[in-house]
Amino acid sequence: MHKDHLGIREITRVEGHGNIVINLSKGKIEELRLDIIESPRFFEAMLRGRRYDEAQHIMSRICGICAVSHTSASLKAIESAMGIEISAQARLLRELAFAGETLQSHMLHLYFLTLPDFFKMGSVVPIMKSMPDILRPGLDIKKLANEIGRVVGGRYVHPISLFPGGVAYTPEKKELKELKDSLGKSFCLLDKTVETFSQFPAPLFCKDREFISLKDKGGYGFYDGTPFSSQKDSIKEKTYTTRIKEYCVPHSTAKHARTRGHAFMVGALARVNNNFADLKPLAKKIAKRFGLTAPCTNPFMNNAAQIVECFHTAQGAIDTIDKLLLMGPKPEKAGKPAGFGTGIGLVEAPRGTLYHEYTINKEGIVVRANCIIPTAQNLRSMEEDLKSYVPTLLGKTKKEITQGVESLVRAYDPCISCATHIMNVRFTS
């Protein structure tokens, strides 16, 4: 009997360590696994017994790419548990830092991790050497996005000034105006991004699925909103953990998740699908250009959804700066704790819905913490997609199958470091 084992050992160009194992027998998949081998990190245990005002500092370290998202979810959980009020200005500054991170993370994924697939190259390095002009817009937007993080939070990653009760630092008017100018100029860089990425149409791979993301009353669910499913029902914050069930699997240090017994997808594509009507007009136009209309069930279109979100976010950041400039900005006093208990913080991290929940006692000590990470919520969906996608690749060379399989996983923009709290394909024979 002919047996083929396709193993991708330590999948590259994703955040964290994972393997894909594919066992083929007589042209059929006998076994397919996405092994997550990243060291488990135990953040929920690390947080236990720490003071509430250290929590966002600790939890930011879950990820060097989406640190603002973890900080934001953490602050929301702390502030909701302790009844801490924050000012309108603090909220806007946090939203601005958040927008910077979305741009930065999407650019990193699109240009550094995905683009090499399109050119059949192993990394961004040969692109940098042979086609620097293709890369330039990505580098420039990423740099601007990092600068937003620095102006608001004090540095590129692990924001300093965002802390329970508000912000410990307010940027100068001049700095905000400069950011606004640069954001205005970023649209022509984003146009170039559209030009580059629209040359590489997504493989056709549509598969019905449930999309979960936040949805905001006043607009696109990003920094705020309540969880919403494409099955047309909203999920209450408090019932998120009964609706989204995490469970352990023996081949992954990251947990998997299901809703009502099946897989679901979170991330840019889920957000665009659930919030399409609330996209800014320019972003909608770009969606059209990529043929992205809601509902879109092709996971490869997550890349296009990220580009659409970059337009939406750049415009959103300009609007936020305008509001801040009208207000001052001026230094402020931090809000103080008014109680204790359990609080939940939800945001749309670049890779999807991020959930932090802490119980804080009357001494201000965290006694229990639970985090549900976007990539963990996507793992089951990724595995199921691979099971449907690999048969369409059979007959191709191992190299081509590996490339196809890796591209699919990369399109999800998985962050395994966050989720363990991916990748090598391994073919076995």
Binding site: A45, L139, K142, R155, F163
Partner: protein, 235 residues
């Protein structure tokens, strides 16, 4: 952070042949001169991997707080490992895949030639270290406390504002950015080689603060060093 060198990256790839960077590259090779190692040790298998890298590389650089001090990961060392696993994985905590050992910096296992401190690392310090290594120079690492950086930055001392701070015993080089942006020093760059602990205690006394409150803030990043220090005292 290395991928945040947008301006410098093209020059870096001209000067250095990057052969293994799993996060950003598909190609990989085990033939290298300089190894930058991120992260702390938290699994038995990593010890073997680490020793293997040490054998291959002529220069080993510990990159970031987890590698240089054990970092925040050492917070889990406050509990027995069985408890740590069950807090996160519940009834499935016994699965082999979740095996873990107390976190430790990489120099607890192998010899480290240079250290780039901090969480996060500072881009300029990374670039300076890389440049020095390429020119055959010893990279410069400050060995004075964050207080020096803080004075240079023109900050008001956080003790004056009624807060505590790990700055007086923490290695400088960060331009005291956390204090500049309204917070305190959390000690992410580790202790200076010869921290003036007794003077620090005096300062704390002057502000009516107990040593314990600073040790507490310092053990976010200094847990491993403190534990080791206690071990020495007991020995």
């Amino acid at each position: 952070m290395v991928l945040n060198c947008e301006e410098e990256f093209p020059a870096i790839v001209e000067l250095v042949n990057i052969v293994n960077f799993r996060e950003a590259m598909s190609e990989r090779s085990n033939d290298y001169d300089i190894a930058f190692i991120e992260g702390s040790i938290s699994r038995k298998e990593e010890i073997r991997k680490l020793k293997d890298i040490r054998e291959r590389a002529s220069v080993v650089v510990a990159l970031g707080a987890c590698a240089t001090t054990g970092g925040l990961n050492c917070l889990k060392n406050r509990f027995p490992m069985e408890e740590v696993k069950s807090i996160v994985y519940g009834k499935d905590a016994g699965l082999k895949i979740y095996d873990t050992i107390p976190a430790a910096p990489i120099d607890s296992i192998i010899k480290v030639d240079h250290r780039i401190h901090g969480c996060p690392i500072i881009k300029e310090e990374f670039l300076e270290t890389l440049k020095s290594l390429l020119m055959g120079k010893t990279p410069f690492t400050p060995n004075y406390p964050v207080c020096v950086d803080c004075k240079l930055a023109g900050n008001i001392c956080v003790f004056e504002k009624g807060m505590t701070c790990a700055g007086p015993v923490t290695r400088a080089g960060c331009k005291a950015v956390c204090v500049t942006y309204g917070r305190i020093c959390w000690g992410c760059r580790g202790l200076t080689d010869d921290p003036n602990i007794s003077a620090h205690k005096e300062t704390l006394g002057r502000y009516g603060l107990a040593e314990e409150s600073v040790l507490r803030s310092f053990d976010l990043y200094g847990g491993y060093a403190l534990e080791k220090g206690r071990g020495k005292k007991n020995a």
